[in-house]
């Protein structure tokens, strides 16, 4: 099994078929990367969002408790 091209330039050129072959591979690569990155980022974002929501709710609850019992807040 040998490398089929005599130089790197020839490999890119692919005897005139380069633009077609490389366009197909690049678009495929970008699509596949998106199919991994989007759900992973989506999951982390969801957790971060929910955590933020939880923290805000907690802070509000604590603030409300402080107002209700001012003597314990120092």
């Amino acid at each position: 099994m040998n490398f089929q091209f005599s130089s790197f330039a020839e490999f890119i050129e692919m005897a005139g078929h380069g633009p077609f072959v490389w366009a197909a591979y690049v678009v495929t690569l970008v699509t596949l990367i998106a199919l991994i990155v989007l759900p992973s980022r989506g999951a982390s974002r969801f957790i971060a969002q929910e955590k933020k929501r939880l923290d805000v709710a907690e802070r509000r609850a604590r603030a409300a408790a402080t107002v209700a019992t001012p003597e314990t807040s120092g």
């Binding site: 040998n2 490398f3 005139g16 197909a24 495929t28 999951a43 982390s44 957790i47 971060a48």
Partner: protein
């Protein structure tokens, strides 16, 4: 017979827990196989006698098309299981399979078009194979759109499952289209029952790519399903605990990961 495993399969939490350990292995297998197959196909497989170098697109075109069809079965069968046994998880898998299937169908159509130009002299023909693949893309998009059209998740799940099941009619048509109608599209080069019309020096890299795409599909499907599970199970205690810890990793109570 012990059916516990089957009912466990319906549990989102069990799925989330189980698949956590599979992800790195699927990722490694996908990347190694796809990179090996692509380098082999692009640089080391011999030129085609008739098509020259343009045929090197086959190494992504065929696997993407195969997984686009297999993915449709995954989506439709998950939908059917959800409808019959009223389980939560299969519906989530079904909904997760739709965007992956749409993306792979798009890849198959796009790579086919840029392969068609130097080979047939045109990017697009309205022949049976290409038109039925376009219909497949529309079915996938239909399932995605239908899923977003309902406020109630359960109604959306049922509607998507029914559309997916009706659409399975299209799959054998795509598969057989090159035999039933005259077409510019070449007939299948790999056959299970008779000898293939592809030389081993081109067949092996193609095989590596097909296996790589299968691994990739599983990887992406699991990631999409896990994301949907988090959103749907947001009210449960186990997701709330993950939110509190700020991580997408589920740590089992008692320290077992």
């Amino acid at each position: 017979m012990n059916w516990q495993w089957f009912h466990r399969l319906g549990s989102p939490r069990w799925f989330y827990q189980k698949t956590q350990a599979w992800l790195p292995w699927l990722a490694i297998a996908s990347v190694v196989l796809l990179v090996t197959g692509a380098i082999w196909g692009l640089g080391f497989a011999p030129q085609d006698a008739k098509q020259g170098n343009s045929y090197r697109i086959i190494f992504i075109h065929v696997p993407a098309a195969v997984l686009a069809l297999v993915g449709y079965y995954v989506m439709a069968i998950s939908g059917a299981i959800g409808l019959i046994w009223r389980m939560k998880l299969p519906f989530v898998v079904m909904r997760a399979a739709a965007p992956i299937g749409a993306a792979l169908t798009f890849v198959a159509l796009f790579t086919g078009a840029v392969w068609g130009k130097p080979t047939w002299g045109t990017y697009w023909v309205w022949d049976a194979r290409i038109t039925s693949m376009l219909l497949l893309l529309l079915l996938y998009i239909g399932v995605i759109a239908l899923g977003q059209a309902f406020l109630q998740e359960r109604t959306a799940d049922k509607a998507c499952a029914i559309l997916a099941l009706v659409g399975t009619v299209n799959i054998p048509i795509i598969y057989k289209s090159v035999d039933w109608w005259n077409s510019l599209h070449q007939p299948a080069t790999i056959k299970l029952t008779e000898s293939s019309s592809i030389h081993p020096s081109m067949f092996y890299p193609l095989l590596v790519m097909v296996v790589g795409f299968y691994c990739f599909y599983a990887w992406s499907l699991i990631l999409h399903t896990r994301q949907q599970i988090l959103v749907r199970e947001r009210k449960t205690r186990w997701v709330q605990q993950m939110v509190a810890s700020g991580s997408t990793r589920l740590v089992e109570e008692g320290g077992k990961a």
